[in-house]
Homo-oligomer: 193 residues x 2
Amino acid sequence: MEAEQPARRPGGRTARVRAAVHEAVVDLLREEEWGDLSIALVAERSGVHQTTLYRRWGTLAALIDDVVTERLTRSSPVQDTGTLRGDLEAYAVQVAEDVASPLSAVFLRAAMVGTHAEGGEPPRQIYLLERGVQLQAMLDRARDRGENPPTLLELLEVVLAPLYFHVIFFNSPAGADHARGLVDRLLALTAST
Amino acid sequence: MEAEQPARRPGGRTARVRAAVHEAVVDLLREEEWGDLSIALVAERSGVHQTTLYRRWGTLAALIDDVVTERLTRSSPVQDTGTLRGDLEAYAVQVAEDVASPLSAVFLRAAMVGTHAEGGEPPRQIYLLERGVQLQAMLDRARDRGENPPTLLELLEVVLAPLYFHVIFFNSPAGADHARGLVDRLLALTAST
DNA sequence: AGCCTAACGCAAAAATACTTGCTTTAAATT
DNA sequence: AATTTAAAGCAAGTATTTTTGCGTTAGGCT
């Protein structure tokens, strides 16, 4: 045989541990405060020993980084309600809810100059791109139905930006009603054009 | 005399220490890696004893929070051009520029991480409180002139939020033209009401 | 089925981070 | 300029976090 690497072993148990740990991180991030998260907590919740966490990930930041990159590659669906307003409202309300958990704060942080990925630098923009494509598809559907949709940029600026803004600066999420209000504003914008 | 409070003493030395610490934090934030920042480092750089940092700020997050709040309220003062549109455009363009500096990105990140009030203190969520007062004054001026200004919330959502959004998600600041376009959008909103 | 060893669990040690009691400095008050 | 006492300094604690050495478990291989 030629030059062998240490011969990793990513099979059964290792994968199981990884899954348990990831799940614990996401769960804790959903309920607990950001600052309260710690290696010790993740260990307790996941049933995986602290030592393992330290040996496999080294630091909490690296672990979170791992979790985030994994989840970012999974796209969550934009639904099709049949009308532009319906689609937009469903999306806006969904984001308003999602954005309330510390989990999204982490995503946010990762999105803007993410933490340091040790080895390769996995593309984070892909998430935004993918999501952007989905939203664009939603707008295209509306156009195909004969509606007069806004541009993607307008959607992002008028609806999405304020939702994130609320969380970052007011530290409180916008409610569903407020989210729908933003959609109103967006639609009013295109109606007058 | 009636019930006296502990009688604070914010004078000379205290202010000096505070200034030294703030300067150290900003410097370190500029050069050092994000995660490397620690109470110990700030203490060493500023020449202020660790104990003082712990006693005055409690945690690193609270300290950063303090620094960020201060700097955010200092930057981009609101000017009086005589018309609502003029004021808004001046402000929007100014923010678009400010937000382009690399240090702002750091502060933004810090803002997201730093905001969690430890026991006792009311949540210092609103970094823009002071700024909000200034902006409200600007809107009030417009109303006094007989113009029909938007609400503060509308201003924040329609103009400010997208400016920050650009930096965070597109990783590039909005140009002056774009900033003015946002002001147009805001004014169109109130015109139609 | 049996061997080899990567990956995990455990407990104890090492390293950091934070707190506490007391002393010293200097802002404010008289 | 003397007095008072918040706020800072210091050093010695306590607590928490991270590392380390070694025994155990269970993938992957023949």
